[in-house]
Symmetry: C2
Subunit: 663 residues, 2 copies
């Protein structure tokens, strides 16, 4: 990604309205903090006498979730009311990262119950306000004005953004960041395609001072023509392909119900939360077992904590979630474009740097997806009964959020299926950036020439999902069923009869004992990856489980293990991560976490969707979406296909129907 | 797959009505043979004096397509009328496989223009009639009656099917096949779950005699209870998950137009053909380039010639397309279950064993898919212009066929996207079969216990697609862009400035000179696979191309190279195949085809979708669909994103829209 740009002279920045506090009686234990609670948290932190330094800048405020056993035993609202509600706060004051836990159970008797200083490497996310302020520092800086003058540009012609400087071996005590600028004049909205090349500022985003300045070379300003993607600029004529308009109509209304943050649909029930860092958080997903008439839990929680440690060149190795925040960066969804007409939507709340609640409207949508797919079907063409066809069309429920971080748009879908599957889809979209100033590594051109003078650099995208699986209970194991070929030896029939076959394959069942054993590069030998509950078995004795099915985008990082971006983002090869991303060093992730036992424990899966992106001209000036996905699918979780006892659709002749002639 | 079953005493078999011949003036050169033409072909073959043996059994009749240059220069109907129309026929007579080419240009002056005998190994597809007849052979066979008696079964309780015996090293002169039987009594439609275990007949399907008989052991008959999948048997109560009914409404009507066999939609135009062996054949697919205002061809032809050489045990290594025929096995689609209400459909014609045309109704459908996806989007959150969001929702066009071969249902989708992509999706569905009689190989249980006494055996599915690519012309090359990591050495900046980075990756561009070089196991080193037209370049000099993107289901065969099923289906590791599948040996595929040059030639891609299937209980008694796919996506084919000059949807405020506040 590239960060949002800030005009040097005037600030045009989308700031959602800070709203008045609202009361929300009896929240679910996992409900995000309400505006009332967020406001109360701010008061408590500001009133906390042990931190006297001012200003206090709020970088993160979110729910400090109760322990899982407490949540699991207090799921109804009345019971939940007796659980304490606590907030976790990361704030900067006096050059330190403070962590606060605030009890907000009783908003009239608030208190900070815990306070600490984070003294490891890494800093919290940038606040919007400091990005705006840092982006404007160049304004009164004479060398910058001279740089513009040399290029024939006015101050109003450029906008600047804060780029995380990442980590290259040196632990900085200061919150330094790079500021780079782009031409915003010329009438195109595609600023990122027009960099102010050669100019880099190093700034202290906290003290708001310029630490270093470099104007390496005055390249010519890339032209604006052909870069805009807005309809009003691309046409008329609009001679691009326009399919016929269509809309999904649900004669009996929506099939799902939203009660607070709980969504109920078909055989699914789950909680949709929101976090300013992780964005959408799905919790307590349970599927109904029609045969057993039981609700059975599949996962406790899933969200996207880390996202896109893009491997570009030099310091461009961003970690969007940890550095800029997915929740903060979620954008209002556009009806009938970002989602179909039959959707419902939800709002979210985060805090500004001053700790005040900000409402983000319409950032999560929920809709039923009628894609024309088939859940199961069969045609029986012979037998004593007339020929039959049975078909059950597939309808799914999608929970969607779109996150925009600078030039990148991520569409994050969670798709629930009646067959018991949860499919997670990450759809990437980005605007091409003009990288003619690629100058760090020059063995080759390092990218594709996608337009005149515009090289789009090769890069990777890694999106890591955090899945706290609870397959029919909290104690689970991770199984690797490797598919093993057997050649020549071992091929025989029990009956003793000779068999002409010379090979076959079978399955090697292995339980991962430790986290280290649970690390899998899915591009290795073919294997089915299962999460099972070893204490629950089906009637015929199989361990109850779910299977992880990658669906494209299985790239893993090709960087050297000793390269700095790789050390920070070691989960792109190995799949675990920590909390302080910005300028983090990687010490808080893999190394400490590999020896813990994961057999028959409350395990967490970190799954990384990966894409190597070799750009092409179709990616200019704004690329068509590409996607990666994975699916969690029942594997001996149900006694049989859970859709067998499903009524055929409507009164249509589509099911149990005969065709052709018998004779 | 398992073959369709035939009742021993009474035939219940779906035979579509043979219809009267119709005239069809001025067909497109690739239009399938009309009923008039099929009828005429039969007359010509029967009148051909050099083949006197009777009966003549018709196994295949299809269009003998004109040479590609002729087709390409005769695409309008008037011009096409001057091209000869020819049929290709495979028929059996006098124990030989005859091949006829029949000129049907003038149906009043028909003639066989060529006749030959196929003398290599392998036989044509089974006809429906000989399967029915062979399935009934056991009826009057005393040992079979005794076998039934020993199990307490009546003749009316069982149905039998013809199983290809495949090839295990011995070239048979006779068309032998195995016949196995299933219990059709007991009120369940799930016959395949109830095998008549231990009983196998070896029959000559042409002479209709039993060659060998074996009743190894009398297992108990598996129970019928719990195996049925019909709504009337599964409920009430219907307590399975039923999403709300929904339907796609298109206020301005369908967006596509079907003119004969030509489909036009959005920026696509293509021809939909039908073949009794290959099923749906998509030809002459061209995409409109809005910037250049040109129609540009992407592929000449795509179809599924070989399908599912299932790796099970011993002889169960079926090749559905070659042995049973996808076109013949296509089933009438069920409205609003197999496809949405906004679809149109097409019929197909094949011939029966007597050579007479048979109409297959409603076997191909075409519909616009409104899945709620996004083609491209961007939110711009800063700049001198008010914050903007541009979104283009994604609508695609699907061409679908469902093929049922015994216990398998394949849904074959071709999905056309406005971004210029063609996505091919193969959705598998099968009914569990009761494999308690697994007795050929017993090192392990070789499968999953999916219900009481029911082991579903491990197996593979391979579906091979034939793609005659014409990327902006017929002469194309195949490029492998391997992603190569560069560690430590070679990491430097041109400016001479030190860089802290220790690794990066780049792309190694390789052109495949020969077919052997073009064979790729996509599970190897990460690589982008491109098909380019080296003689056509974009304005900035990139070769015009398309990229092949696998989407799941990338399994390759794990069988030994010297195992017989692998020798026949060598394309499951290597990707080429021949024409005579049934009892074929593999001599007509890879070996002879690997040395031909493919650089800057009219190349054909054989792409194999592969799935290792480790069954689970959810697959019983009928499994939810699983799928594999691949996409052909423009890669420097267009000068830029082809959807840039696309009008936003309707009059909605979804595009070029602002949100939030600026200030």
């Amino acid at each position: 990604m590239y960060p949002p740009l800030v005009l040097v002279l005037a600030i045009f920045f989308a700031v959602a309205t800070a709203i008045a506090a609202l009361s929300s009686p009896l929240p679910h234990p996992l409900d995000p903090l309400s505006p009332t609670e967020l406001t109360a948290v701010r008061s408590a932190v500001l009133a906390f006498s042990l931190v006297a330094s001012r200003p206090i800048s709020f970088h993160y405020v979110g729910l400090d979730e109760p322990e899982k056993p407490d949540v699991l035993s207090h799921t109804n609202a009345a019971a939940a009311a007796i659980l304490p509600r606590r907030a976790f706060v990361i704030a900067r004051a006096g050059g330190l990262s403070h962590e606060f836990y605030v009890d907000v159970t009783n908003t009239s008797a608030l208190r900070v119950v815990s306070h600490g200083i984070h003294d490891g490497p890494g800093f919290p996310m940038f606040t919007t306000e400091e990005q705006v302020a840092a982006g404007q520092l160049s304004r009164e800086y004479p060398p910058f004005r001279e740089s513009l003058q040399r290029r024939g540009l006015a101050l109003t012609d450029v906008g600047c953004g804060v780029f995380s400087m990442e980590w290259f071996g040196k632990n900085e005590a200061r919150r330094l960041a790079k500021v780079q600028c782009f031409i915003v004049a010329g009438g195109t909205a595609n600023y990122y395609a027009r960099p102010l090349e050669g100019v880099t500022l190093l700034v202290d985003v906290e003290k708001l001072v310029i630490v270093a300045y470099r104007d390496r070379a005055a390249y010519s300003v890339p032209k604006a023509e052909g870069t805009d993607y807005r309809a009003g600029k691309a046409g008329p004529p609009f001679n691009g392909a326009v399919p016929a308009p269509g809309v999904v109509v649900q004669p009996e209304g929506k099939g799902f119900h939203i009660d607070g943050h709980i969504v109920r649909w078909a055989n699914w029930e789950f909680h949709v939360g929101f976090d300013m860092r992780a964005g959408t958080v799905i919790s307590m997903a349970s599927v109904h077992d029609a045969d057993a008439d039981l609700w059975r839990r599949v996962l406790y929680r899933i969200f996207v904590p880390y996202m896109d440690p893009e491997e570009e060149w030099y310091f461009h190795t961003f970690m969007d979630a940890g550095e800029y925040g997915l929740g903060v960066s979620a954008v209002p969804l556009q009806p009938e474009a970002d989602y179909p007409a039959n959707a419902a939507y939800m709002d979210g709340y985060y805090v500004d740097a001053d700790g005040k609640p900000v409402k983000s409207e319409n950032i999560i949508c929920v809709f039923e997806r009628y894609a024309g797919d088939i859940a199961w079907r069969h045609t029986g063409v012979a037998g004593p009964i007339a020929p039959i066809t049975e078909v059950r069309p597939d309808v799914t429920l999608v929970v969607r959020m779109v996150v925009t971080v600078g030039n990148y748009d991520y569409t994050l879908d969670w798709e629930f299926k009646t067959v018991g599957s949860i499919k997670t889809v990450c759809i990437l979209e980005m605007k091409a950036t003009n990288y003619t100033h690629v100058d760090q590594i020059r063995d080759d051109i390092h990218g594709t020439l996608i337009a005149e003078n515009t090289v789009d650099v090769y890069h990777d995208h890694f999106i890591t999902y955090h899945l706290d699986l609870d397959i029919d209970g909290t104690k689970n194991s991770f199984i690797k069923n490797t598919i093993i070929p057997k050649h020549n030896t071992g091929v025989r029939a029990t009956s003793g009869a000779p068999t002409p076959r010379r090979s076959y394959w079978t399955v090697l069942y292995e339980v991962a004992e430790t986290e280290a054993e649970g690390q899998v590069n899915i591009n290795g030998a073919p294997a089915d990856l299962l999460f099972v509950n070893p204490s629950k078995k089906t009637k015929v004795g199989n361990e109850v489980g779910y299977r992880l099915i990658p669906a494209g985008a299985t790239a893993t990082s090709l960087l050297a293990n000793n390269d700095y971006p790789q050390r920070r983002a070691s989960y792109t090869k190995k799949q675990v991560s920590g909390l302080y991303a910005e300028q983090s060093t990687g010490d808080d992730n893999l190394a400490a976490w590999s020896k813990r036992r994961i057999k028959d424990e409350d395990i967490v899966l970190w799954y990384t969707v990966g894409l190597h992106h070799v750009p092409c001209q179709e990616d200019f000036p704004v690329m068509p979406t590409i996607s990666g996905a994975f699916e969690l699918r029942p594997f001996n979780f149900f006694e049989r296909n859970p859709l067998i006892r499903t009524r055929p659709p409507g009164n249509s002749p589509n099911c149990s129907c005969s065709f052709g002639r018998s004779g």
